[in-house]
Amino acid sequence: MGLRWFHFAAWGLFAFGLALLPELVSKGTLRTLIFANYLAIFAISWDLLSGRTGYISFGHPFLIGIGAYTSAILTKRFGVEVEIAIPIAVIVTMIAGLIVLLPALRIRGSYFALVTLAFMELMYQLVQVIRPDLTGGTRGMSGIQTLTRGAVNGFYLSSVLMFVIAVAAWLLLRTRIGTALTALGLNESAVEGSGLSTTKLKMFAFMASAFVAGLGGAFYVHYLGSIAPRALFDINFVFTIIVAVLIGGASTIVGPIIGAFFLTFLLEYLRPFLPGAERYFIYGGIALLLYMYQPKGIYAMVMKAWHSLHERAAK
């Protein structure tokens, strides 16, 4: 995997920073950070599916929502223990991932992106109509069992979860599968022409993504304690996830984390000036400009700076 000392140092520093944060910042900021952690998890999930393969998901909340709803329904309506409900939710989400995979076997590009969007809208409508006694219908559910009490514990739980997922995904993509997935995004027929089953590769990417989405969704709902279809299956949520990945740097895993934190704080600092949804005006504007002029994201900018620094030091 070509691991070097500075990789360990960077991840170690990141873990140390996360562990230290509750001592340094206010409870309010900590709650913001919890959201950043979950956004980072969702962004990583998106990155696994779309970052390399070229199959852009415009309906990622479909997967996240299935994880969240499954665990919420199991615990609240059927009294299942959270420890059992979450793994089941992850499995159900992975099965849903297979549904997303199905169209990917036949269509690419814009068409695939549209199907995922349709999946999300379909889910939004179905959740409200089918068995509202289970899903809570339009109003959703509240009073769902929470895993932690207080901001500090919530922060630690979300941080550990995010950190473990991030390192695992990052390591995964440094193996040959990462190269294979990049190749898949670049030229699908040449991957087939190298003797590799593209179906298998796509299935792996989609399953890995669904796994993370299900895990993130389930933990998120047990942090919030409530769930509502409009907030979840929402194009603004899709937008937030995609923008986090793109601003940070797609296909890098580290990028989406940077993006998620960057955006969460940008939104938070805009709050005093623009308290409502109009914050998205500036937020989206920055995202659009960054994407147009640096489509590879902040991560690529940082790496470039690091390399030029390295070269200068070597001289």
Binding site: F58, P103, L114, E121, F239, A277, Y280, G284, L288
Partner: protein, 283 residues
């Protein structure tokens, strides 16, 4: 029964009007303009502002909304689509971001709450006991007129033929001396104007709200996907399939299921027949 027929015709007419601008861009530029819904939103809001705040005559306000849509279309092509040089996915992502930015911009100016738009043409007539607003009737008639003239425009005029050529083979068209950029610009302008007009009617049918762009976008997507790229006749037919399906579902099954069948149709068609029901033999 007659009720369903009338409601279906009216809704389908509206849907055809909404979708045609989106179809146009998808046919000629091969890109999905995810900010298309925002033309409708902005068109509706501009009309609202002009006619209900400034007191501009309604017909003039409609024209203003269309002009605004044209300007938006041109700006979008110049500032986003052209610099990204045919990277479809990048255009789609950028237009999605743009749509959210525009939505936030509308909230900034007009606030978060939805607004009721007065009908463009007031009054109701009763057809076989079913109330039909003049507004919807006008929208349907306008939709048919526009689709017909668009069809003739594409078939009969030089610009229209150039658009057809670019939609079939951009490079080939360029070799024949057609400037794809100019054709694209005209298409984006036309699409913006049509979108804004559709928005005025759509807003008077439902209401003005900053999030109103998502619904029409999905309908446009459905119509384009199910109809297949580049067929105005296909657009018209599929708008009627979608419109009638919704009306039937709402009145026979349950109003909440309205969108479910539309979504199901999109998914089914994309998976089973990606080129759409009506292929792409004509624009």
């Amino acid at each position: 029964m007659l009720q369903i027929l009338i409601q279906g015709m009216l809704l389908s007419g509206l849907y055809a009007l909404i979708a045609v601008g989106f179809t146009l861009i998808f046919s000629v530029g091969r890109t999905l303009n995810l900010a298309y819904g925002a033309y409708l939103m902005l068109g509706g809001y501009l009309y609202f502002w002009a006619s209900q705040s400034l007191g501009v005559p309604k017909s003039l306000a409609v024209l203003m909304a269309m002009a605004f849509g044209v300007v938006l279309g041109i700006l979008k092509f110049r500032l986003i689509v052209k610099p990204l040089k045919g990277d479809h996915i990048a255009v789609e992502i950028s237009t999605l971001i743009l749509a959210v930015v525009l939505q936030a911009g509308v909230i900034l100016i007009f606030g978060d709450s939805s607004k009721i738009l007065l009908p463009i043409v007031g009054g109701v007539i009763y057809v076989a006991g079913a109330p039909v607003t003049y507004n919807m009737l006008i929208a349907t008639l306008a939709s048919w007129t526009i689709l017909l003239s668009l069809y003739l425009f594409i078939r009969r005029t030089d610009i229209g033929r150039a658009m057809q050529a670019v939609s079939m083979d951009t490079k080939g068209a360029a070799i024949c001396g057609i400037e794809p950029d100019r054709v694209n610009l005209i298409t984006w302008a036309l699409s913006g104007g049509l979108g804004a007009l559709g928005g005025v009617f759509f807003a008077s049918y439902t209401q003005l709200a900053p999030s109103m762009w998502v619904g029409p976008l999905i309908i446009s997507v459905a119509v384009v996907i199910v109809g297949g790229i580049g067929s105005i006749i296909g657009t018209l037919i599929v708008a009627h399939i979608v419109g009638f399906m919704e009306v039937i579902v709402v009145s026979v099954l349950a109003p909440e299921l309205r969108g479910v069948f539309t979504m199901g149709l999109i998914i089914l068609v994309l998976v089973l027949r990606p080129q759409g029901l009506f292929g792409r033999e004509e624009l």
